[in-house]
């Protein structure tokens, strides 16, 4: 089966800067895919090439098997939800959403029906006659989403879709986006720098660094089996221990305190503690690494051990919970 989207060895330079460097990637129909990277990783350039605002210098972009690398954005069955939302300020919510369908010269009745439907799904119907500057941030975000979705694109691109929202709303919208994606049955590609967002929403995640693809996998794979040290450090929090010229990595939640049994134990001293409500984060100084090890202790364990700064603790973990890197 051919994948919906094939990015085949795509390279893009801006002057001397190489923004995207030989990226190859297949994305299947109905997938929720996340392009994850720090700023300057090339994720936005890649997205803009998929939308048609940039053209690859080398390689090709295939949609349903057809090369669309040089097709202008208005001819692609691909829509982009802009980071700034880019809503037309002089048009109402309704007119904003209808705009893309008018460009397809659909009959008026069909436009009205489809705009009505998508406003229903995105809960925008009461706001139909408002202008963008009379909406809250969350409402604006939904208009941008509805405006792109109403076109029933083969592929929906979302550039930092939740970046402008506050933390609580962002958490709610992560699930909301996932629900919507299921409901409309459209393939989503999200660009984000927020690794938590990528893990929560996406079926698969691609990690980009300096224009190159570091790793592609399910959230579980990239979190539990990072391909290299950068990926391990970028996704979540990771402790690194140097041993015999090798780098051993272990997640803070895999380290236990005062373990009954463990493959490996180490003695240390608590140098700092941070209470997070859900858990307690300890910085423990050991002779295994220069930087103190970060340990996440559940509220329950924290209560049992009455941990304070300066206390001596024994840490332990199992080898199966560690990863080893040679770089």
């Amino acid at each position: 089966m051919t994948p919906l989207l094939s990015i085949d060895n795509v390279t893009k330079r801006f002057g001397r800067v190489i923004a995207v460097d030989g990226v190859s990637l297949d994305i299947a129909e109905n997938e929720f895919f996340a392009l994850l990277g720090a700023s300057g990783s090339g994720k936005t350039t890649l997205l803009r090439m998929l939308a048609g605002f940039e053209t690859p210098e080398e390689g090709a972009i295939l949609l349903d098997g057809a090369d669309i690398s040089h097709m202008p954005p208005n001819r692609r069955p691909v829509n982009l939800m802009f980071q700034s939302y880019a809503l037309f300020p002089h048009m109402t919510v309704e007119a904003n959403i209808a705009y893309g369908l008018e460009m397809e010269h659909l009959p008026k009745a069909e436009i009205t029906t489809r705009v009505g439907e998508i406003m229903e799904i995105t809960e925008l119907s009461p706001m139909a006659r408002r202008k963008p500057d009379q909406l809250s941030g969350g409402q604006r975000q939904r208009v941008a989403l509805a405006r792109a979705l109403v076109k029933r694109p083969r592929l929906l691109l979302l550039d930092e879709p939740l970046g402008a929202l506050d933390k609580k709303l962002r958490a709610a919208m992560q699930l909301e986006l996932k629900r919507l994606q299921h409901e409309v049955g459209v393939t989503f590609i999200v660009v984000t720098h927020d690794q938590e967002e990528a893990l929560v929403m996406a079926d698969r995640v691609a990690i980009l660094k300096d224009g190159r693809l570091l790793q592609v996998g399910t959230p579980h794979e990239v979190y539990e089996h990072p391909a290299n040290r950068y990926a391990a450090d970028f996704i979540g929090v990771m402790n690194f221990i140097e041993e015999d010229g090798k780098t051993i990595a272990i997640r803070p939640e895999r380290i236990r305190i005062f373990p009954d049994t463990a493959d490996r134990t180490a003695k240390g001293k608590i140098v700092a503690r941070a209470y997070h409500g859900l858990d307690l984060q300890l910085h423990v100084e050991t002779d295994l690494s220069q930087r103190p090890l970060l340990v996440r202790v559940t509220a329950d364990a924290a209560d049992r051990h009455a941990l304070a700064e300066g206390d001596a603790v024994t840490l332990g973990w199992n080898h199966t919970d560690t990863r080893q890197f040679n770089d």
Partner: protein
């Protein structure tokens, strides 16, 4: 009165005093002048009359108003088209180059209006630079008559007021989020449709401001029609000038001036309303 109100009143006072003494009062005097009679030997006879304003409806004078409006209107249209295109190009240029481009656009302003207009005489003259140029290209016939035509007047007006349009249109164009045009393209619009449905509507306030500026300054202008129109195309400005300085009919000159000011005020009010309407609508619905 709150302290901040008192302070802003104090800060505005000099400007208000200046405008009242040198603008409102003289205008009031001119308006009053329009209701008196012209003396037999010039001068003013202080008896009340509406004759001067009645005279404005005389086909001769109404015709001059219409001619002025046509010339000013044509100049406005041309200036807006050229100026908008220039402003668009400047706004699309790399950020760091925009200030220098704007500087060049307004450069003519730094020289005297009269000299700039005289320069056009040199260019458009029967034996001027343009004729010269045509001769060099091998043209042998009669020199084209360009100077002292309506076209020459319009050319002079467009040339002089173009920078206003460029500045007025540049402001909204440079503030436009470039992602709006991209969003339009992404949603399936061609470049032209994007311009017509997104860029143009969002920059109408700038166009309106520039257009009203050119029209108001053109319709009252008297130097350009006098120099480039050769007196054959009298505009209201020339008529007013003649009433005060040659015909010595101050009351009728005053009535003409008032009519002109009324037209300008009407247009400026309309433009202010149009600009306010957008902002007002937004406020209203946000409250509701």
């Amino acid at each position: 009165m709150t302290p901040s109100n008192a302070r802003s009143t104090l800060l505005m006072a000099p400007a208000l005093a200046w405008l009242t003494a040198l603008m409102v009062v003289p205008c009031g005097l001119i308006l009053a002048l329009g209701f008196f009679r012209r003396g037999t030997y010039g001068g003013i006879e202080y008896t009340f009359t509406l004759e001067n304003f009645g005279l404005l409806l005389d086909p001769l004078y109404a015709g001059i108003f219409l001619t002025s409006a046509r010339i000013a209107g044509t100049a406005t249209l041309i200036a807006v088209v050229i100026g908008y295109a220039a402003a668009y190009a400047i706004a699309a240029a790399p950020r760091h180059r925009q200030p220098i481009l704007l500087f060049f656009a307004v450069l003519p302003f730094w020289s005297n209006y009269l000299i700039r207009t005289y320069a056009w005489i040199v260019l458009l003259n029967r034996e001027g630079l343009i004729t010269h140029g045509l001769r060099m290209l091998g043209y042998e016939g009669e020199p084209p008559s360009m100077l002292y035509t309506e076209g020459a007047v319009i050319t002079g007006l467009v040339y002089n007021y173009l920078p206003f349009v460029i500045l007025a249109c540049y402001a909204p164009l440079s503030r436009l989020n470039p992602e709006l045009a991209e969003a339009s393209r992404d949603l399936g619009a061609s470049a032209f449709t994007t311009f017509r449905r997104v860029i143009l509507p969002m920059t109408v306030p700038g166009i309106a401001a520039g257009a009203v500026f050119v029209f108001v300054l053109s319709i009252g202008n008297f130097i350009t029609p006098a120099l480039l129109g050769g007196g054959r195309f009298q505009m209201i400005g020339n008529l007013v000038y003649a009433q005060f300085l040659t015909a010595n009919d101050w009351p009728f000159g005053a009535a003409l001036s008032m009519a002109l000011i009324a037209i300008m005020m009407g247009l400026l009010t309309l433009q202010t309303f149009a600009a306010e309407k957008g902002a007002g609508e937004a406020r209203e619905a946000a409250d509701g």
